[in-house]
Subunit: 377 residues, 4 copies
């Protein structure tokens, strides 16, 4: 029997987009206890957020230094153990450094830093301090990405001979063409986003999925980047020829000006004995093309999956993991009702739906018993 792991957040508060993804992930596994943090740069926002989540306001700090100082004073069995860094990219490095030195384990949003040299420094520091460090390349958490990794590991594809990974978005498109609107996009501002927009934000995911699924390193790259306008300093699109460590060739394709695309990530890996393909927008399907045989479609939760993939699914086959979100929406609707807040019609089914359902079932049974006769509900 063990206790929950005490978790702190730096960022990820009321005005964060990625915050809920991390908080919900932490709740989901029932292994973490959200204990405190620095939820927002504005302390007032931070405090009221802590209150809403019914956290101890003493564990809500003004800034990272206060956090480290405050938590370090607490007894070991009370102190926050793991800190999630959800601040803008350019802050990751300094914060991670302080936290590592402060003895905390770390979960960090990507990109880990702005420069590779910083990441390397952090790597050395984690070794020195024995820090546990998790970088949230979220797509590697999908069950069928893990099944893909498992199948390649088991040798189902034989020697890998070709890889192709795509991450196409279109969201920057309406901004990039208007030099005024463009200023709203912090990712296009080198001061905040760092050296790269498209490659740093999404190309790196495609790269990561290749190394993750194949277990092979990319050794060399040749890239062709696009900024679209001369007065736009950062890349918004790029194609990268790659060479894997085993000699296989491949390509990483990444774009934020693929107008109309949402998060169209596709990874295809081909080996001597077959191919595997996965697309993020349809994450429950893994396409397996065994040489000379009919294509197969694997889905989560089925016993034919690897132990790793099986352990990455919480529900039986045929329910997309998004089922939890569907249920969450119903709980949300009900919470509004409990609080007497007005909300949308149809936000949760009530007892009358139960009555109707039971009447339906009974009418169906009676109709059948009477030899397929019409029965009123």
């Amino acid at each position: 029997m063990h206790n929950k792991i005490r978790l702190g957040l730096i960022g990820g508060g009321p005005r964060s987009f990625i915050g809920p993804v991390h908080r919900i992930a932490a709740y989901m596994v029932e292994e973490f206890d959200l204990t405190g943090g620095v939820f927002d740069v504005d302390f007032e926002h931070s405090l009221s957020f802590a209150k809403a989540l019914e956290l101890d306001s003493n564990r809500c700090y003004k800034d990272l230094d206060a956090f480290i100082t405050g938590e370090s004073k607490l007894p070991e069995d009370t102190r926050i153990e793991v800190v999630v860094i959800l601040t803008p990219n350019y802050l990751h490095f300094e914060m991670a450094k302080k936290l590592i030195e402060g003895g905390f384990d770390i979960i960090c949003e990507k990109p880990v830093t702005v420069y590779a040299s910083e990441a390397e420094e952090l790597s050395l520091l984690t070794q020195k301090h024995g820090t546990k460090f998790c970088l949230t390349h979220t797509y590697t958490g999908y069950p069928m990405v893990r099944q893909m990794k498992s199948m390649i590991e088991e040798g189902k594809l034989g020697r890998i001979q070709k890889v192709d990974a795509q991450y196409y978005q279109g969201w920057i498109n309406p901004f990039i063409h208007d030099s005024e609107k463009r200023k709203q996009v912090w990712r296009l501002d080198p001061a905040v986003a760092g050296q790269s927009c498209c490659m740093g934000d999404i190309g790196v995911h495609a790269f990561n999925l290749i190394e993750y699924t194949t277990g092979l390193k990319v050794q060399k790259v040749l890239s062709d980047l696009e900024t679209l306008y001369d007065d736009n300093p950062l890349d918004v699109d790029g194609t990268v020829l790659i060479r894997m460590e085993n000699g296989a060739k491949g390509v990483v394709r990444s774009s934020q000006i693929a107008s109309g695309e949402e998060n169209n990530i596709i990874i295809s890996v081909y080996g001597k004995d077959g191919g595997l393909k996965w697309a993020q927008e349809d994450p429950t399907y893994l396409h397996y093309l065994p040489e000379g045989e009919p294509a197969q479609v694997l889905k989560p939760g089925n016993p034919y999956n690897s132990e790793f993939a099986m352990d990455s699914t919480k529900i039986p086959p045929g329910h997309p993991e998004g089922l939890f979100d569907a249920m969450g929406n119903i709980y949300k609707g009900f919470s509004k009702a409990i609080r007497g807040e007005s909300y949308f019609n149809g936000a949760f089914p009530g007892i009358e739906d139960g009555v109707r359902g039971m009447r339906f079932i009974e009418a169906v049974l009676r109709s059948n018993a009477e030899g397929q006769a019409w029965v009123e509900i």
Copy 2:
């Protein structure tokens, strides 16, 4: 500013399949505080479950009566407000009755009861006691089901003239053909499952989706049920002709012997001005067929959706809601590492992945800057 709603569970503990779906849903919306309950029929299991979740063991009760007595003694601002009923079907009615009379609001798994008369009695009781009651027809929580409902409400389809809902599964197939294995399936046992297997378990979902999305009641049914073997008392398949209150005809199709199917739910609604189709295994796509125009594919999170559908999505377009689960898997992997437990290789990306990502980005930038030259990572 409001406090979280105190939530209790009856059932849903360590040995429950549906328990995690409810707990995670409750965590997700950050509006509920799981406070106590009767987690398992075996009190020891129940207690150790409470401990694992770091709940106050005084709020872990032996049975429902103890729960009601115990909670009722507590001051109002401490007492559990909402109770989730996750016990076997045949217990729902008695439990719900006691809880309503005890002054609790209720979230109840479907089917709400075993007989319609029971559901009707509960309905009256909720009115008498002012009970808030939520029945978890989970599929109505999907953003695109809600978008479908909104579009029909807005009149996009005109008068509804045809409805067709399907719920095809195959999971009973390997059991039904073997009279020994069949005994393992409680859903086939009338003593536990009630009057119906297929219709009560899944047909009712198809029925519910029709009434939910169209806002129209089903008025009459004519059904044809299949038990497959004479010594199997309950239906495992059925087709139901239906007549809607507006006169439209339709069909509910439901099967647990559609071998190989997982949870193949499809709802199609056709009106004078177009059609709408949604499939549960691909829940992020809503297919809209406007009369005389190209088909449209709507996806969650896009501003063209209704306010209700928008409020039912937590992330921007193109990320399936299952993204939370992917992130949850990464948190899970990291929690194992924190605890020093052995787990799967690749369970979470670490600092080395961060280093590699940054090196990739920098190599890509250098290659481009050098006029598309090869650069080693």
Copy 3:
């Protein structure tokens, strides 16, 4: 070595919609020689059609009687052997009768007649006269429908326990709601269309696919038909509960008011050991759901298919059969150019496209040879 079979058409001329499908089918197999017929009720139209196809105008007849008399006078090795009946439904019976008695073999569009009694009479006549008779249930010609049939025959699904066939269209929708426009639709006129609109036109295809693929007869039906308006005499929608000869239950669903649907035919057959599903609008995919294993997707032309399915494909895997039509379009465009007729820009690729293609290939080779350098085309 054999000669081509001499083919005649009754109907199917310049103003026929189905005519080209039959003529092209006949050309495709290079086994038939279109020799003559009664191409149109208007003899002038018929003659100029014959001229356009460069047929002998002596073999172009005024009516069926003239056709039978004329052809019967010719020597056996010249006489038309097979006649295709493409006239409105209500004429099929009388024409088929005369042709059978005249000693011709017959290809007939469906429905074969207006009444079952007529079909039965034709059946007896074909036996008496030794007539070869082909009814063009076209969908049974798709390679993957044949593969489905083969797999069921081979026992891949075990005992069939559930069938579901759908044919949903929406084309009548814009007509049915307007009593004036409705008159344009001959299918809604009992005098021409016969007893049924939806069932006779499309429901029967769904029925036929069930019997074709399973090899089992439908024994009983219970149907629910929809005419939508009281002053519309014929069905435009219907659901039919069915009972197969082996006791399996199933359903035939058919609609012409499924607004927005085109020719959405789906057939699903489930047996003790798995399921098979096929959809006409994606005809190159056969979905096979073997019990307990990953789903498979079979495609035409692959050696894992049955001999029958293989013999029903003319091109290697991965080229939809529609490739012939694509090539046909290019031939069409070129024929316009040859005749000096103005046509669409881009109707066929020319020598300049060849030049550009070769330059592309050479530039690509040079770029690679130079170590991945930029090369102008």
Copy 4:
């Protein structure tokens, strides 16, 4: 009123794979009359092929020179006008040259020649002689490719800013890894195939689709080719960075070692105002992503298509063009029956299927008339 165009074939006879595609295309449009040719290098094969097709054996020639001489002697209104070149690639140039000089119009399989310089020479020759020349880049004949071209022409996408074309196959995979089996593949033999395997055979299609749909020229390329083995001289895979004449960047991806892939051609074009995507294996769907609006799916035959796309479809919406092939298969089956040859069970529906269909319809009507009662067929 015009006569059919007299067509000759060089190659494309009994042992040709591409022959039937051309012959059927020619039959389909009912504008060509296959008159003669050199069908096979072996004159005996050629003659018996002519006989099977009931062609005048005097128009069947031993070789190209005999063909040119023979046809040139014939009166103009008898002489073959258009010649289709279907011989191995390396013969195209010399043959085309002779035919141009002989006064014939030409349809030629791709690649047009082995070297760009040859293609350029042919181009000059066609100008000099006024030759009409068609290069069969078949994929440009698909209705939805033409619709894509039309929409880009109409400016639906605005300025093109990104293009991505893929042609992935896996068929060479089982050969390339075995140096013995490899010798069976003429495409890998430079003496026959020319300078390139993958790029020349399929990469050029991807290239062509880009120029065809966008109406823009590719200006520069940077390529990375793969031969997989040192003793394999020709490319079997390659990625090509491209720069369009309007400055847009893009990529052509082509592979014959994408194991398990069949003819996976995908073209994606993104502009300032939206995107368009088309995949050859699902040719009836054109995906249109208008900026800020729901995605649309366009299908052939619908009036919302361009005039050019409409003119490239022969049947109403919802029937894949492969329907012709399905019908062709039924004609094939019936031709076997006519000849008394044994063939597959189920190869064509007969009168008994007609009887059953009519009985089904009548039973359905009776059941409904009797208030949804069971009726035996």
